[in-house]
Amino acid sequence: MSLKVGDEFPQVLLKYAPYDAANPGACAAPQVLDTNNDFAGKKVVVFGLPGAFTPTCSAQHLPAFVAKADAIKAKGVDLIVCVASNDTFVLDAWAKQENVNGKIILASDANGDLGRATGLSLDLSKLGMGSQRLTRFAVIVDNGKVAHLSVESNPSEVAVSGADNVLAAL
């Protein structure tokens, strides 16, 4: 069972530590991001990746979205969400290291709910990284419906799920 274009994006509760512009170094208390309620009536870009601080994710996937966040929002996107299986504390530390500065919400799917609901989970236990990771993908969700979906056939690469791919699809 895998997500496809035209589907309703599944309702899942994710967690994130909100960015506080007045106190950017602070470790904020985690908030819930409800993919149903918080995406209603909005155009949202969601991109998933196997893990914070990992080479491809840190070197290629996230930084490109940070750099192109304004351009993506200029095309009518209300919210950009990066999802990974790490917890909110790890994602918050990664966001600070990558200077995300609130442009993208880094949301945690630590319980694996989104991975299971979309069929986009990745088992990396052979690498000692646990069985409930997310594969690398990008989705455009328009008022709750999947308008675009690109899933990397090789999760170590950013070929179809990068910021430029998403910009071209908007």
Binding site: S85, F89, A110, G130, Q132
Partner: protein
């Protein structure tokens, strides 16, 4: 905990990213560490954290070991290691944030094998922190035999902290 003083510490495979003194900023390739092979014939202090970058771990548990690692080694400890349920990349990044270099080995038990073998696996699903977590503890292992066990009964750091371990060496 499933092991007690006098028991042989379980053999488990953990992963870590080694520190490269020539290229400290580099994200090295993950390596496997089999506890029996790595700890045989050595005195090891191993402390476990529920999660890298979390408040108690970051503010209370880890700093104590960073501060006392020299003293631990001067008392005959060969390896000081921190194990967490996060993957090796996260553990490595967390260790880097304390500039531990190779003084403290940052180990990953992301598959939960060590947690299960020791009976200290905990489930963080209710807090939305995922099903594979570790209870906070510290053990001292001498040539694979457990000589000290300190499992934290509640939140905070007491029997699993660097001070408690130092007092036992």
């Amino acid at each position: 905990m499933a092991v007690k003083i006098g028991d042989v510490f379980p053999d488990a495979v953990l992963t870590y990213i080694p520190y490269d003194a020539h290229n400290p900023e580099a994200c090295g390739l993950p390596q496997r560490l089999a506890t029996h092979e790595a700890f045989r014939g050595k005195k090891v202090v191993l402390f476990a954290v529920p999660g890298a970058f979390t408040p108690t771990c970051s503010e209370e548990h880890m700093p104590g070991y960073v501060e006392h690692v020299g003293e631990l080694k001067s008392r005959g400890v060969d390896i000081v290691a921190c194990v967490g349920p996060n993957d090796q990349f996260v553990m490595h990044a967390w260790g880097r944030s304390y500039k531990v270099k190779d003084d403290i080995l940052m180990l990953s038990d992301a598959n939960g094998d060590l947690g299960r073998a020791l009976g200290v696996a905990s489930d963080g699903t209710a807090q939305r922190m995922g099903p594979v977590r570790l209870t906070r503890f510290a053990v001292v292992i001498d040539d694979l035999r457990v000589v000290y066990v300190g499992v934290e009964p509640v939140r905070g750091v007491s029997v699993s902290g660097a001070d408690a371990v130092l007092a036992k060496l």
